[in-house]
């Protein structure tokens, strides 16, 4: 079928495109088309059956006037802020020290990675039990055993969000540690040798060699982890039995979208929420790339 007069390189390109076409078609129909459709949907009133009626900016105006949206947005940013700082800090601390350990290195690394490959819902349920009051809750049993008062954890509007964040961080750092370790390995050893010859202390080495040279790793992890925390859903859904409670104190934006779309069947309003989430994700990712990827 391929005309004989095509050059070798042209034919190669043709073959490459033939193979690429499959994922492109898939991507366009499964990803791109629904995404574009969601934008269109966000300007309509649609209850999943019947016709879509355009209603201009009504969905967006309703969203910005909805106090619940601002609560949910605040929660989402608390997940992001606390999750990012704690997980990156812990992951780096673990990786930094793990990098210096030879004995049992592989075993420890595997141990940190296991939560990452465990099903989120199964883990969330186990943590939900950890947080229960006595006599079944592990954490409260421990508190009571050492003579401290019980904590409400998931039944408290102040503690619940952080109680849910903990297993998410715990699962996320496995991945972050492995990436940090790869980044640390990639730093050429002669920098450290030179620093040692110059008599630089460990803190100086950390701040002037290790961290600056880890910049690409940090950028990558910050962007991917931010996206993950902004889209947190499974832990919240499993640990609050789908409610985002108590009193909406743990509800992230994705859970609000899920409820609007698949419990209330307000597809247009839900689409407007996804557009807002998309814009937030885009803005934060671009900002982080700009701030952190600047070449020295």
């Amino acid at each position: 079928m391929v005309p004989a007069r095509l050059s070798l390189s042209a034919r190669r390109a043709l073959w490459a495109w033939a193979f690429l076409a499959v994922p492109i078609v898939f991507y366009v129909t499964i990803r791109l088309y629904p995404a574009v459709d969601a934008f269109v949907m966000s300007f309509t009133n649609w209850n999943i059956v019947g016709t879509r009626a355009f209603n201009g900016l009504d969905n967006y105006l309703r969203l910005f006037g909805d106090p619940r949206f601002w609560t949910v947005l605040r929660n989402t940013f608390v997940y992001l802020g606390a999750g990012l700082v704690v997980s990156m800090g812990l992951a780096f601390a673990v990786a930094y020290h793990l990098d210096k350990v030879r004995f049992g290195h592989g075993f420890l690394r595997a141990l940190y990675f296991v939560p990452h490959i465990t099903t989120a819902v199964a883990m969330a349920w186990v943590w939900r039990w950890f947080y229960q009051p006595v006599p079944v809750g592990l954490f409260n049993d421990l508190l009571v055993a050492v003579g401290l008062p019980q904590q409400p954890f998931l039944r408290s509007t102040g503690q619940a969000l952080f109680a849910i964040l903990a297993p998410a961080v715990w699962a996320g750092i496995g991945f972050q540690i492995v990436i940090f370790l790869a980044g640390l390995k990639a730093i050429p050893a002669h920098y450290y040798e030179a620093a040692a010859l110059d008599g630089a202390g460990p803190w100086r080495v950390l701040f002037e060699i290790t961290l600056p040279l880890l910049r690409p790793t940090v950028v990558f992890l910050t962007v991917t982890s931010s996206i993950a925390y902004l889209r947190i859903f499974d832990y919240v859904y499993a640990m609050t039995l789908g409610t985002g409670g108590p009193l909406d104190s743990t509800k992230p934006i994705v859970l609000m979208i899920f409820e609007t779309a698949f419990k209330n069947f307000e597809m247009g309003y839900a689409a407007a929420q996804t557009v807002v989430l998309f814009l937030i994700l885009l803005a934060i990712s671009l900002l982080q790339l700009r701030l952190m990827d600047r070449r020295p």
Partner: protein, 423 residues
């Protein structure tokens, strides 16, 4: 050559036409209809048995049962029916009727086979919610109601008579107080009564406690929330006092109410008839069931049920077959089979009042409860439940005054109802 080809094509066409006619005729002989319900082993088995009996009695009709996981049930039907696909006869929760009518997913039951007066004579009064504009749109096979479950062992340990359940709300509080156990620092080890708004408690408050305190949850046309008054406040205060004042239970104790009760960690719980099968299979649990406690001699109950309706997809012979099938699966014969296989109460008064059912130690209290049971007119069940959950949490966690929490809840729920009727 050319002529031959033409003749061959001609005869092939004729053959195809004939086959079409023949299969069309065959189809006219055996009408096939689809029945959809959500996946739940006991319900599916009961329906298989009903279909077998129905097909034996109606040789011209084939019924295909399709089951869909509960979480996808509404979405799948919502997608299929408007496209002319999916079920001819469909099962739906009574609270979804308004949504289904709005989306034009149901047609009225044929009046010649389903006479409104006969239906109202035969079924429990709450079935009237299925009548819109003088026409019935759906009918139940079975109904559910609430009752007070008590753990005989724990009640006996507390020094109470395990055969005599509390008859009033005050007696319930007193009994729960005696059955509550705490450690030296006050941590709950055994609850007097379960506190679980994600279970049945929100129905108990809404349709039972508010009425018992002299109020009404909604206006007769279901368009106005009417519990923001002294009775509503009294009902919510009574419920939250179980935790705040009497300290006989805590939300989240043993993760949820059912778990606490079935693991012998709670003496009393309010639950539905659908729980009987699971609790009967629980090893080491010795429990009994009584009617919900009365207040000032008044008893109320909450009932809910699944109904069967016919979609617009069924026309002509299919509509007739669908109507016959619906008549059969809501008949006394089907109701008794449903009770036996699924454990849900018969929807017809005469069937439920048979001595074997009404006199049954565990079914009896539920059947008696049906006599004064109300089915809430939900416009969005999950959102309305959340309003009640948030109201109780505001009192218990945020220590908000009960009157404020009730006012907020009433306003929130009114917004949901207005949104529904405004659209």
């Amino acid at each position: 050559m050319k002529r031959f080809t033409r003749r061959a094509v001609g005869s092939a066409l004729a053959a195809i036409c004939a086959m079409g006619l023949w299969s069309g005729a065959a189809r006219a002989q055996a009408v096939e209809i689809e029945y959809w319900q959500y996946t739940f082993p006991q319900r599916v088995q009961a329906m298989d048995e009903l279909i077998k009996r129905f097909e034996a009695a109606n040789p011209g009709i084939k019924v295909k049962q399709v089951t869909v996981p509960y979480d996808d049930f509404r979405v799948k039907i919502a997608a299929a029916v408007p496209a002319g696909q999916g079920p001819d006869v469909v099962q739906l929760f009574y609270g979804w009727l308004q949504d289904y009518l709005k989306a034009k997913m149901l047609q009225p039951l044929p009046a010649e086979m389903f006479n409104a007066a006969d239906i109202e004579k035969e079924f429990f009064p709450s079935v009237k919610q299925m009548k819109v504009g003088g026409q019935y749109y759906a009918l139940p096979t079975s109904v559910r109601s609430l009752a007070l479950f008590w753990n005989k062992k724990l009640v006996k340990e507390a020094g109470l008579d395990p055969e005599k359940p509390p008859q009033t709300l005050d007696e319930l509080v007193a009994a729960a107080e005696r059955a509550t156990k705490r450690d030296a620092s006050g941590n709950l080890l055994q609850a007097g009564i379960t506190i679980d708004m994600l279970g049945q408690d929100h129905h108990w408050i809404r349709e039972v406690l508010i009425r018992q305190m002299g109020g009404k949850p909604y206006s007769p046309d279901n368009r106005k929330v009417t519990y923001n008054d002294a009775a509503g406040i009294k009902a919510v205060a009574w419920y939250t006092d179980l935790v705040a004042r009497h300290k006989v239970g805590e939300a989240g104790f043993m993760t949820d109410g059912v778990t606490a009760f079935r693991s012998n960690r709670a003496a009393f719980t309010i639950d539905g008839s659908f729980r009987l099968a699971a609790l009967d299979n629980q090893k080491g649990l010795d429990y009994a069931v009584a009617e919900l406690p009365a207040q000032d001699g008044k008893r109320f109950n909450f009932t809910s049920y699944w109904v069967n309706g016919i979609t617009p997809k069924a026309t002509g012979a299919k509509r007739e077959a669908a109507a016959k099938f619906l008549k059969f699966i809501t008949s006394p014969e089907a109701q008794e089979l449903w009770l036996e296989k699924v454990g849900e109460l018969p929807a017809a008064v005469a069937v439920a009042n048979k001595p074997a059912i009404a006199g049954h130690a565990k079914y009896g209290p539920f059947v008696r409860g049906l006599a004064n049971a109300e089915a809430t007119f939900f416009v969005n069940e999950s959102a309305q439940r959340k309003v009640f959950t948030d109201m109780v949490d505001a009192v218990l966690i945020k220590k908000q005054p009960v009157a404020e929490a009730v006012a907020t809840a009433a306003a929130e729920e009114q917004k949901l109802i207005d949104g529904f009727f405004g659209n």
